[in-house]
């Protein structure tokens, strides 16, 4: 809890066991999601409406545009390694830089490929975060 919040009044609930994450009776503000009953939950958030909203569909499209090509690229690039090592051994055993052969360099490049895709994803995901925040702002929990 941020320090600038005033402390809560003492909890009048009798202590029966170990503490739980169920908030005390004097709890202020809206109920946290995990405390709502099924009846309160139903209709509290218009999931269907959000799911079919233009903004949310745009977010999903943007994510797909990044994630699907990225997955395909890394899977092809990664499985090319065991496939080439297994079926094109003479090619892979060719020394490229001094004594270091193509097989080792290709394996090493996998690390940089993984880091590169991760970095690209973090950049793209900052954009997804902004879109998600807008959707959340429009649908603040009530």
């Amino acid at each position: 809890m941020p320090p600038d919040n005033p402390p809560l009044p003492p909890d009048p609930t009798a202590i029966v066991g170990a503490a739980t994450d169920i908030s005390p009776l004097t709890h202020r503000g809206p109920k946290p999601a995990h405390e709502r009953t099924a009846a309160e939950e139903a209709g509290a958030t218009p999931w269907e409406a959000i799911a079919s909203s233009a903004r949310f569909r745009e977010l999903l499209r943007a994510k797909r545009r990044f994630i699907i090509p990225a997955m395909i690229f890394f899977i092809v690039y990664y499985f090319a390694l065991p496939a080439l090592v297994g079926y094109a051994r003479p090619l892979m055993e060719k020394p490229i830089i001094g004594p270091v052969n193509l097989a080792y360099l290709f394996a090493l490049s996998q690390f940089f490929m993984a880091w590169f895709i991760a970095a690209m994803y973090v950049r793209a995901a900052n954009r997804f975060d902004r879109q998600a925040r807008e959707i959340m702002r429009d649908n603040q929990e009530r």
Binding site: S52, P82, G86
Partner: protein, 533 residues
């Protein structure tokens, strides 16, 4: 007392201090299972690395590269690239839509009882098998590393088991996290030092290092041979379907890591999905750097220590410690030995907490008691008791198997089950509206069963050993293998997906389809996600 034992005891004292500190902060359910979701991004990233890089990576990979050169390095590559699946597909949706376990995401729109029962079975299978492999390894290492301290195999197994039980039962996720963070830092420090020493040995010249790697001599069946260790094919030969086995291994790693329950629960310990993403990136930086450095550990051991010497002094698992001894003497050997133990402890603690969380949250509360605690705090109490039993069973099984037991197949099995049972149902429940309870149960069952059966028929279990191999080191079934590959992924992963898809078409479940919109919105926006406490 030897330096190795002394350093190990120091690590134990520090981690017990952390557990004492964490115990008072681990009373509520969210605190015990998720460290109150207040672990920061870099902390969780380091902890993921500590949770993931087991003794199999540190000692095992160094040994595989020292013995089989390039083919050993193939494992290193797969172990990092696997994190792209974690990053792109599972980490954020899981954090957004779940609470304590992998099954939370599945139970959102499916019938919770059957799905959680199956998911708990799969989680506990993966965790206990992986744990037994680690415990047997830990015990066997003791004889070699602390040999002069007269620590027996049994004492080592009991020691590791009791410590992991203490961390988890008293300190919960918070203590487990910090044990993993300290271990990851120690492991990185040890690996960097060792790599620098190897480079120094070759006068800081990568050229002379790699030149040495191309001419490694050792005795093979009594004959002196010289091989280029940068060339593939020393382990996975064409004769034993090497290429297929490598592809199958790659599939198990790349799709299995994203289904390992002890890795997945780590993403519940951070405040939100963005932090989960940041922590995967931190983990990738550490894990990637570590596995690149296995080049120096493994090839260094092959060139500086030599395969013949390692074979005569405890076998390939001893490559990294023996390299340390050769380069910087007994104190450094002790340091590396202590790191090996810290490594095992951090991993088994992570496995214990994921198994006991799944038992308490998925099986006890959700399946037996229909999703309600009968008393406040019951779920945590059950988890603590479960952690105790999981640990006790792992100790008992590891002692019964003995230190020479052939347990490498258990690690392959853990990855195969994670890839073939867990990953298909996670992916389908997040991305396929039509997916339903029958599909999830069929998928989990098929993936689990296919992995178990194919491993049992593979050369990891079925093989004719020469009469010189005796006792528990012998393969369980002395027959030629029916399934030719060590790793079943190439067949079991498609089977897992097929089971899940065919199972789905058995019936329609309108409620599951109706709640798909909710799951997709939650998973992609974090709306209604569990908050940090």
């Amino acid at each position: 007392m030897t330096p190795a034992l002394g350093m190990f005891l120091l690590f134990v004292l520090i981690t017990l201090g952390i557990t004492w500190w964490a115990a008072r902060r681990s009373q509520s359910a969210a605190a015990f299972f998720t460290a109150s979701r207040r672990i920061t991004g870099w902390q969780n990233g380091v902890a993921v690395a500590g949770d993931y890089m087991s003794a199999a990576s540190f000692l095992g990979i160094a040994g595989l590269i020292a013995f089989y050169g390039y083919d050993g390095f193939m494992f290193s590559v797969g172990w990092l690239v696997a994190y792209l699946t974690v990053l792109l597909v599972v980490a954020e949706p899981l954090r957004n839509a779940g609470k304590y376990t992998m099954a939370d995401v599945l139970a959102y729109r499916l019938n919770p009882r059957p799905v959680r029962a199956m998911a708990a079975l799969s989680t506990i299978t993966v965790s206990t098998f992986y744990m037994i492999a680690q415990m047997v390894g830990a015990g066997a290492l003791v004889a070699l590393l602390l040999g002069s301290s007269h620590v027996s195999y049994q004492a080592a197994v009991i020691g590791v088991g009791v410590l992991m039980i203490i961390y988890v039962v008293f300190g919960g996720m918070l203590a487990t996290t910090w044990v993993q963070i300290i271990k990851a830092i120690l492991l990185m420090a040890g690996t960097i030092l060792l790599s620098l020493l190897v480079l120094a040995h070759f006068d800081w010249s990568l050229t002379s290092f790699f030149n040495a790697v191309t001419h490694v001599s050792y005795h093979d069946k009594g004959e002196l041979v010289t091989k280029n260790f940068l060339d593939p094919g020393l382990r996975y030969t064409t004769a034993n379907h090497g290429a297929l086995d490598l592809i199958s291994l790659g599939m198990a790693l790349v799709f299995g890591t994203a289904g390992l329950p002890h890795i997945l629960v780590r993403f519940y310990t951070v405040p939100d999905a963005k932090t989960a993403r940041v922590s995967v990136v931190w983990a990738m930086v550490l894990i990637g750097s570590f596995y690149i450095m296995t080049t120096f550990l493994g090839f260094g051991a092959a060139t500086i220590v030599g395969r013949d010497f390692i074979a005569g002094h405890g076998g390939n698992n001893m490559s990294a410690p023996l390299l340390a001894q050769a380069l910087a003497g007994d104190i450094f050997f002790a340091f590396i030995a202590a790191i090996a133990f810290a490594t095992i402890l951090a991993v088994v603690a992570g496995l214990t907490i994921s198994a006991s969380t799944s038992f308490a949250h998925d099986f006890y509360t959700a399946v037996i008691h229909h999703g309600t605690e009968r008393k406040p705090g019951e779920e945590v109490r059950v988890a603590r008791i479960a952690a105790f039993f999981v640990g006790a069973i792992a100790i008992a099984v590891a002692i019964l198997l003995g230190k020479d037991a052939n347990v490498a197949f258990l690690v392959a099995l853990a990855f195969a089950v994670a890839a073939s049972a867990n990953l298909p149902v996670i992916v389908l429940s997040l991305f396929w509206r039509r997916f339903n309870t029958a599909g999830a149960v069929c998928g989990l069952a098929t993936g689990l069963l296919a992995s178990l059966v194919l491993i049992a028929l593979s050369p990891s279990v079925m093989k004719v050993d020469p009469p010189t191999v005796v006792g528990a080191a012998r393969h369980l079934i002395q027959r030629p293998p029916i399934f030719p590959l060590e790793n079943p992924g190439i067949l079991s992963i498609p089977l897992g997906f097929l089971g899940a898809i065919l199972g789905t078409f058995l019936r329609r479940e309108p409620e599951a389809e109706a709640r798909f919109a909710e799951l997709v919105v939650r998973a992609n926006t974090g709306l209604g996600a569990e908050q940090a406490l």
